[in-house]
C-alpha cells in the first residue's frame, strides 16, 4: 500500500487541504436460471483506486489503476471545480482510525461449489414450473464481496472486507390477457444478508417453489383489488421498500441540501423540521443502524472513515435526524453519522442508506387484523413510484388478501395503494413484533448512477383509511 501513501503525498504537496484514497477489490458471482436454462452464470472481478481531493474548498475525484496518476488528475479536477465554487467546503472532524473489520460468517459463499448452487436453482426453477399455468420461472443467486483499503491525509488507515449473498425464486402465470407473478422470499433480486452461505440455506428456497407457483396461478382467477379508502396491513418486505422510499431517501442530508436535485430530486424533510415535525404516529420509530448484525448496511467504517453507529431518524413519530456525510454534517454543526459509501473504486462515496429500520411494536399479526372491518393485506412489492420531494407515492404489490371483520378472506390481484408520506405514517396505528431484517442489493442514486446494498428491518404494520386499488 506504499503507492497509496505516495498518492496522498502527491496530492498534499500539490496544495490539497484534504485527500483520501480507496483501493477496492470487488468480487461478484451471479447465477440466473430461466425455465430450464442456466442463462447467466458469471464471475466478475474489478479492482482499482479512487481518490478524492479537496483543493481550495472544492472537490475533485479520479479513478484508475495507477495511484500516482490519479492523484495528479484528482487535483486537476478539483482545481476546475474551484472555478465554479460559491463557498469553500469544510468537513466535520473525524478521528483517524487504524483498524480492520470484516463480515462475520460461518460458511464463505464463494467456497461453496458453483455446481451445487446451479443445481439448487435449476431444481427450484423446475418446481416453480410444475403448477399448470406457470409460464415463466426465474431463480437467481448473487454473492458479492468488497475488500477495501481507505487511507486519508488525516491519518486514517482502514481495511474492511464485506461479504453478502442472497437469492430468490419467482413464477409468472399467464392466461389470456392477464399476467401475474409471485416471488419468494421477495421480488426484485430477493432477500440478501451480510453473512455466509448459511443464509442461502436458511431460505429453504426449494420448499417454497410449489406454493409460489400455485399462488401465481391462483392470482389469475382472483378478483381485482377493490378501489376506495380502507385499512391496509403491509407484509414486512413491502414495508421495507416503503421505509426505503418514504423515510430512507428523504432523510439523506445531501438530497435535502439539493445535491440530488438534478436527478431523483430533493426532500420534504427540510432542516427546520428536525425535532418538531410530525412525520408519523407515535407507533413509528425509525433508526439508521450500521452496527446491526447481518445487515447489508452494516460495516465497521463508512467510505470517509467514520465509525459505524446508530442514529434515530424518527422518534415516536417525530422527525429527529438525518443520514449524513462529513461535508453535510458540518453544515448542521454536527459530526458525521457515517453514511458515505461508494459502489466501487471508480465512484465517489455518496450518502447511502445503512440499515434503516422500523422498530418493532407489541402486536401479533392476528391483532393487526383483529379490529379491521374492511381492508386489504398486501404482500411483496411489484411496483413503486414517489414524487421528487418524497411526498406522494404509489406502490403495487404482487398479492392481496381482503380483510373482513378481522379475518383474511379472499385473495385479490393487482393490489395497490397511494398516499402522502406524513399522512400515511400518521395513519399507522399498530406495528407487529414479527421483526425481520431485509437486504436490498440494488438501491440507485447519483450521477453517474450507483447501485448500493442497503438493509431494512421491518415488521408488518397497519395503516388506517388508505386509498387502495389505483389504476
Amino acid at each position: 500500500m506504499k503507492d497509496m501513501e505516495k498518492s496522498l503525498e502527491i496530492a498534499s504537496k500539490s496544495g490539497a487541504e484534504y485527500c483520501d484514497i480507496r483501493f477496492v477489490i470487488n468480487r461478484e458471482e451471479e447465477i440466473q436460471v430461466r425455465g430450464l436454462n442456466p442463462e447467466k452464470v458469471t464471475s466478475k472481478m474489478d479492482q482499482g483506486y479512487g481518490m478524492r481531493v479537496l483543493y481550495d474548498g472544492a472537490w475533485g475525484f479520479a479513478a484508475g489503476q495507477t495511484p500516482e496518476k490519479i492523484a495528479v488528475k484528482a487535483v486537476k479536477v478539483a482545481k476546475a471545480s474551484a472555478l465554479a465554487q460559491k463557498e469553500k467546503i469544510v468537513l466535520a472532524d473525524v478521528e483517524p482510525y487504524t483498524d480492520f473489520w470484516e463480515t462475520p460468517m460461518k460458511k464463505d459463499p464463494f467456497s461453496v461449489p458453483i455446481e451445487e448452487k446451479i443445481s439448487l436453482l435449476l431444481d427450484c426453477s423446475k418446481a416453480l414450473l410444475e403448477p399448470e399455468g406457470v409460464r415463466v420461472s426465474r431463480t437467481s443467486m448473487k454473492t458479492q464481496s468488497q475488500e477495501k483499503w481507505f487511507f486519508s491525509s488525516e491519518g486514517a488507515r482502514i481495511r474492511q472486507k464485506i461479504v453478502y449473498c442472497g437469492a430468490m425464486v419467482s413464477a409468472v402465470a399467464l392466461d389470456g390477457g392477464d399476467m401475474q407473478r409471485r416471488s419468494y422470499p421477495t421480488s426484485f433480486g430477493g432477500d440478501h444478508s451480510q453473512e455466509g452461505y448459511e443464509f442461502i440455506e436458511s431460505l429453504n428456497l426449494f420448499d417454497h417453489c410449489q406454493k409460489t407457483g400455485e399462488e401465481a396461478v391462483a392470482l389469475l382467477k382472483a378478483p381485482n383489488c377493490p378501489s376506495g379508502n380502507m385499512d391496509v396491513v403491509l407484509e414486512s418486505s413491502q414495508l421495507a421498500l416503503q421505509v426505503h422510499e418514504s423515510c430512507g431517501h428523504p432523510t439523506e442530508l445531501d438530497r435535502v441540501l439539493g445535491y440530488e436535485a438534478s436527478y431523483a430530486g430533493t426532500s420534504f424533510l427540510t432542516p427546520e423540521k428536525v425535532g418538531n415535525f410530525r412525520y408519523g404516529s407515535p407507533h413509528v420509530t425509525i433508526v439508521a443502524d450500521s452496527t446491526c448484525s447481518k445487515g447489508l448496511g452494516t460495516f465497521g467504517y463508512d467510505d470517509e472513515g467514520v465509525r459505524a453507529c446508530k442514529t434515530v431518524l424518527v422518534d415516536e413519530g417525530v422527525f429527529s435526524g438525518y443520514l449524513t456525510s462529513r461535508e453535510t454534517a458540518y453544515t448542521m454543526g454536527e459530526p458525521s453519522n457515517g453514511a458515505m459509501r461508494a459502489m466501487g473504486f471508480n465512484f465517489i462515496p455518496l450518502i447511502r442508506m445503512t440499515n434503516i429500520n422500523l422498530m418493532q411494536g407489541d402486536f401479533t399479526f392476528e391483532e393487526l387484523l383483529e379490529d379491521v372491518k374492511e381492508g386489504v393485506y398486501m404482500e411483496t412489492n411489484r411496483s413503486w413510484s414517489i414524487d421528487d420531494k418524497r411526498i406522494n407515492f404509489q406502490f403495487g404489490c404482487e398479492s392481496g388478501v381482503l380483510i373482513e371483520r378481522g379475518e383474511l378472506t379472499t385473495v385479490v390481484k393487482n393490489p395497490s395503494y397511494t398516499a402522502l408520506t406524513p399522512e400515511f405514517w400518521g395513519a399507522c396505528d399498530a406495528v407487529s413484533k414479527d421483526w425481520r431484517l431485509w437486504g436490498l442489493p440494488n438501491c440507485g442514486k447519483g450521477e453517474p448512477p450507483q447501485s448500493m446494498f442497503v438493509g431494512h428491518g421491518t415488521a408488518p404494520a397497519r395503516f388506517r383509511d388508505i386509498q387502495v386499488g389505483v389504476g
Binding site: 430461466r34 430450464l36 436454462n37 442456466p38 447467466k40 452464470v41 458469471t42 464471475s43 466478475k44 472481478m45 474489478d46 479492482q47 482499482g48 472544492a58 472537490w59 475533485g60 475525484f61 479520479a62 479513478a63 489503476q65 488528475k73 479536477v77 476546475a80 472555478l83 465554479a84 465554487q85 460559491k86 463557498e87 458453483i114 446451479i118 415463466v136 437467481s140 390477457g177 392477464d178 439539493g258 445535491y259 440530488e260 436535485a261 438534478s262 436527478y263 430530486g265 471508480n346 465517489i348 411496483s383 413510484s385 414517489i386 414524487d387 421528487d388 420531494k389 411526498i391 406522494n392 404509489q394 403495487g396 393487482n414 395497490s416 397511494t418 450521477e447 448512477p449 389505483v470 389504476g471
Partner: protein, 446 residues
Amino acid sequence: MSKEDVFSILEKVLKATEADQCEAYLSGISWGLTRFANSYIHQNVAEDNERLTVRVVFGKKIGKARTNQLDPESIAEVVQRAEKIARAQKETPDFVTLPEPTPVSQVKGFYKETAEVSPEERALTVKASIDVADEKGITVSGAYYTGVEELAAMNSLGIEAYFKGTVSSFKINTSIEGGTGLAQDFSRNHKNLNPEVLTEKACKKALASRKTEKIPPGVYPVILEETAVCDMLGNLAAMTFGAQSYQEGRSAFSGHLGEKMVDESISVWDNGLEEYGFPVPFDTEGVAKQKVDIFSEGVAQDVVYDSFYAHKEGKKSTGHSVDVPIPIGPLPTNLFMGKGTSNLDDLISGCEKGILVTRFHYTNPMHRLKTVITGMTRDGTFLVENGEVVKGLKNLRFTQNILEALSATEGISNEWGTMRMEFVKVTICAPALHLGKFTFTGETLF
C-alpha cells in the same frame, strides 16, 4: 488504446481457451462528469476503466467471467475462470451457438474535440450557465459529461468488431421559489449540446411554473413534451419490444404482431446506425445492428433479438444483445419515434383544454402485459385552455396504459428530444405528442 491494441487483447483470449466456442468483449471508458447543485460544482469526477468479458462454451455449457485488469496474467486468469464455470455448468438446452459474423457498418461516432474537453472547459461551461441563471435569481443543478468509449468484440466464429465513440450530455434543472424547469440533451458530439440554449429554456420553464394551482385528478387531454414521451417510450420498450418478453408471452406484442395496436400516426423503430441519438454499429456479441421497425403506422411489426433468443426461433440476431444488471434480454438501444409536421406551439394551439407536461418522474410499470405505468409530472405542468398555456399546475400522479394513450394520438411535433437511460445505455429520441386521453390518479403538494 488503439484498435490494434484492443484486438491483440481479444486475440489472446481466443488463443488461451480450450473451449468449443469463445467470445471476448471489451468496453472501455475515459470520461469526466461535472455535477452541479445550488449553483456551484459539488461533484466532479474522472474515470479511466476497461472491462474484459469472456464467454466460453463447451457443448451447451456456458461460463462467463469479467475482469478490469488487462495484463497477460489477468487475461489468462479470466479465461480460466470462465472455463471453470462452464465445466461446472449444467447444459443450457435452448442455446444453439454463438453468433456468426455479419458485416459491420461504420458509423460516425467519434469527435476529436469532444474527446479533448478538459475539466476546466466543463467547469467554465457550467459557470456560464450558473451566471445566466444567477442574473434571473434562479438556482441551478445538473450534470455535464464528456468522454470516450471504446467497444470491441471478437469470437471464435470470426466476429471482429471495433468502435470508438465520444459521449456527451448537458442537463440543467432550474429552481426558483415555487417553480422548477428542466432542459437536457445528449450527443456523441458535445458541440451539438448548446448549453446556453438549454439554460435559457430551463430558466424560462421555471419562471413560467412559479405560480401553480391544483387541478383535480381525472382524465384529460395532454401535450407531452419530448422528454416525457421518451420516458414513456422507454418503459414501453423495456416491457414490450424485446424478444425475451415476447417469446414468454409477457409482452403486449405476444401473439399480436401484424395488428394495429396504436394510432396510425405512430411509427417506432430502432436503428443503431442512425447518427442521431447514440449510434453504435454492433452489440455486446459483436453482431451488426439491424434497423428494426417496431410500429409502422400503428401496426406492431417486430421485436429486437440477441443471438440466444433469435436462435430459439430459428432467426438471426438483430444486434440487440445488452449487458445490463437485470435479466431483461435484448433491448432497443437507439430508439426513435417518427416525427409529425407541427411544432410544439401548434400542438398547444390545437388543444381546447388539456395539461402540458414537461417531463415525468420516477415512472414504473404497474402491469407489464397491459403496459400500465405510473409516475409523477415534474419541472413544469401547465393548464392549456383554448390553445394557450393559462397557468401552472401542481404536479400530478398518472396511472396509464401506454398503448391506450398512444391510440388517442391527436398530434405529433416535428422535433426530436433525446433521453439516455444511463443505467441500461438505452437512447430514445421522440417528438412531443398531443394525446386525447390521459389518466391522472393523484396529486401532490407542490
